[in-house]
Symmetry: C2
């Protein structure tokens, strides 16, 4: 293992975090909040550790998949450990474990909160809390890759470890350019949403923070009632942007470069559409019946868009909905958004491929020895990809089951336990019952909170980086 290069990367992460945190410092200055000092202290700490690591050039550039996974996993953990400090130092979240939970929930774009009263936080803290979603959505390492010159080999492995989805599509031959283009699209869409919210009369601070939560598909709101207090226009803008941030960013790249035909061929996009539309129709019918079908579409669309993209904003306490609608939402949590988007969950493309392997098995059983080639978007799915998707799925379910078992020790009711793990592992945010849209995660024991922090990281980094970090074999010489 090339430890020196990993330390070098961690140095960059800390330095970058300090830079990003300065924005919260500016917010503190504007609102003249004392809590701003907590950012100053944390930034100083990040720079004191980070800058020497950056300056110390790594001895070797050897960089394999393992180094990629470990850099990303350790990077995210250190990012969170320091990112939690402002909440703790300012005393606005008195328990450090809670602060850590909150910031991991932020960076992983989960949006599960331990706070019962969000509105009690100062503006600079609310800003930082929402901004972590934006940073985590596209990935801090991808951000670093995009703006810094790095020696060749590592880019691919880092992208692969940090980006969501079964395979990383290079937009252009050079990985660095790909990372840069991704951030340009991300930034552009963010600005567009902010403008549309401002047009609808939303205050600037709200527009910024809520857009950060939408763009990263995070879900931290700055009001206790989440998005319910805003006008239907604003809610609809958010509905549409949640949906858009759940689309594979490659599609936007293709659209920008006028390859719309290629973009429209994407099977994942098609299924993402079909799933979203069917879910909205079924839920509208279920909660409104034929009579109030159309008036129910507004809430149904918001919630479906929020849950499938694993954002987690709410306009309505869906705890009160019938079991059928709640089951659909729970299913959507696991399906998740498209690969290569900022959303979490298993990802539509993996689900599509899993269904295809099932179809292949059936035809194999019917016509023994006929080997059907699996295709997606007209291209053959490599055996390697299928295998890794299968293993991913199995691992995902195992982590889910073990986590439910561990959290059940807290003896909350079954739905709370089950949905709390589903919401954190899939980076959704709210679950049902105690952790429903109007509840929070504060009452869990520290032990359960650590389990769910693990789940949030495992969910965001797609399981293997975090698992590798804890595997004995990784650290053997």
């Amino acid at each position: 293992m090339n430890k020196s290069i990993i330390l070098h990367i961690i140095g960059w992460i800390l330095t970058m975090e300090a830079a990003l945190m300065s924005l919260s410092g500016i917010v503190a200055i504007i609102y003249q909040e004392k809590s701003g000092f907590a950012f100053l202290i944390t930034m100083a700490l990040c720079l004191v550790i980070g800058v020497p690591l950056v300056l110390h050039k790594p001895k070797s550039n050897v960089f394999f998949a393992k180094e990629g996974f470990i850099s990303v996993a350790m990077g995210w953990i250190i990012l969170s450990i320091t990112g939690a400090l402002p909440f703790f130092i300012s005393g606005e979240i008195p328990s450090y474990v809670d602060a850590l939970f909150e910031v991991i929930s932020g960076f992983t774009t989960t949006g599960s909160s331990i706070l019962s009263d969000v509105e009690a936080l100062s503006y600079c803290m609310l800003f930082w809390r929402s901004f972590t979603h934006w940073i985590g959505g596209m990935g801090i390492l991808v951000f670093i890759l995009a703006i810094l010159p790095m020696a060749g080999g590592e880019s691919m492995h880092i992208m692969r470890a940090e980006s969501p989805g079964p395979s990383v599509g290079k937009l252009v031959p050079r990985m660095r350019t790909t990372a840069f283009l991704l951030y340009i699209i991300y930034f552009g869409m963010t600005v567009l949403q902010i403008v549309l919210l401002l047009i609808g009369g939303m205050p600037l601070f709200d527009s910024l923070t809520i857009t950060f939560g939408t763009a990263g598909t995070g879900g931290f709101a700055i009001k206790n009632a989440s998005i319910a207090p805003y006008s239907p226009y604003l809610q609809n803008v958010i509905t549409i942007f949640m949906f858009l941030f759940g689309v594979n960013f490659n599609i936007y790249y293709l659209v920008l470069y006028k390859k719309i035909k290629v973009a429209m061929k994407s099977e994942e996009l098609r299924w993402y559409f079909i799933i979203v539309i069917s879910a909205i129709l079924l839920i509208s019918l279920n909660i409104g019946g034929f009579k109030n079908f159309f008036s129910s579409i507004h809430h149904a669309a918001f919630q479906v868009s929020s849950i499938i993209t694993t954002t987690g904003y709410a306009t309505f306490d869906f705890n009160t909905w019938p079991t059928f609608s709640k089951t659909i939402l729970l299913g959507l949590m696991f399906i998740g958004a498209c690969a290569g988007s900022t959303g979490g969950g298993i990802k539509v493309s993996r689900i599509v491929i899993l269904f295809k392997t099932l179809g292949k098995e059936m035809s194999y059983l019917i016509h023994k020895r006929s080997v059907k080639v699996l295709k997606i978007d007209g291209k053959k799915i490599e055996h390697e990809t299928m295998r890794s998707i299968n293993v991913f799925f199995v691992t995902y379910i195992i982590i889910f089951a073990v986590s439910v078992l561990l959290v059940s020790i807290d003896n909350f009711d079954f739905i709370t336990t089950f949905s709390a793990v589903a919401a954190t592992l899939n980076n959704v945010g709210p679950g049902l019952e105690v952790v429903g849209p109007i509840g929070n995660f504060g009452e869990f024991s520290y032990f359960s909170k650590f389990v769910m922090m693990f789940d949030m990281l495992a969910g965001r980094l797609e399981v293997f980086p975090i698992l590798l970090l804890f595997a004995a074999g990784t650290w053997k010489k």
Copy 2:
């Protein structure tokens, strides 16, 4: 597709069913019950359809995996359609759909009941209800294979389609002898349990029916309070036999032939032991604490043994247990018993192999290109087996998720919906809440009942035979 041979096999199934039903007729005679006529009518019907099919020799002996799957799937459905008739004709279960649910639950050794008052049934009906467990446990087609001369090729495919587990172990080179030996062991253990129950003072009728439910890991009881009314000795005998019927029958064969060393090497057996013991200890600690630890072991052991083998007998309403214990039980439902036993669920060996593929993936990521050979019981796991286990697991989870969605339309609470599907798909019997040990499945809509009938059959026949039956490709020329 060789339809004539499939019809021939179905003929045998109907004829055999009539023969087996005659035992219930005898019970009716002993207790002088009018309901006995319902068996006479059904037997006549089975013979009228079955005997001509048996006498009509199939044109060709071509028999592939597809024919095996379809014979088994159709055979089981026809077995159930006719097996439900006595309940319906006698009027003891007034709705035919309910009677069908009950008998499918019987044959698939699930043990989920639509009856709120079991004790209202006549003796001959109770006998038939429990006897279906015994028939379904080892499989009716395996039974037919064991006692009838059949032309070569089909045996293997039928065994493969009807027997639980990822691979069928041939005990001896000839499949027919294997089937015969399996039934000898099954029969012997059944007799042993009956004797031990009689020694403990249980009435003969109770001993017979309860043993049928234990041997098939079914779980239909003849008292409303399941096994609670019996003495601790009797409960302990049942605990032990539930555990034993969950062991791979190959192990007993090896023990009988004094190959104990080979038997003890079985990794599945070892893990089955470890899982059972850990579950008992954890639940005892959870429900009894350190103070009542030892007094809790009795109930914990019974319930763990009952649930992991997917029997479903109860001595205690585990609905009242803490969430941690309930979560363990829910996990055990999915793990299930050993392959090649009469139990349901995913099976311990599949779970072990899934964990091993996860381990392989990790080592693959750590040491790129190192190909680790997966072994079980010292033998290499074929790529083919791993692939089919992965596909099985994915399919299982998909069926589970879709079923939960469909059943949730009934708008029962989430735990009821979730656990009802888990209990039927895994052939366990009782779930939690409304369908808990003291509840029943009677209140579900017909639609949900059909979904769960599908699940019970899919669970017992390990998914693919039933899926193939509904696949369009199967019926194309």
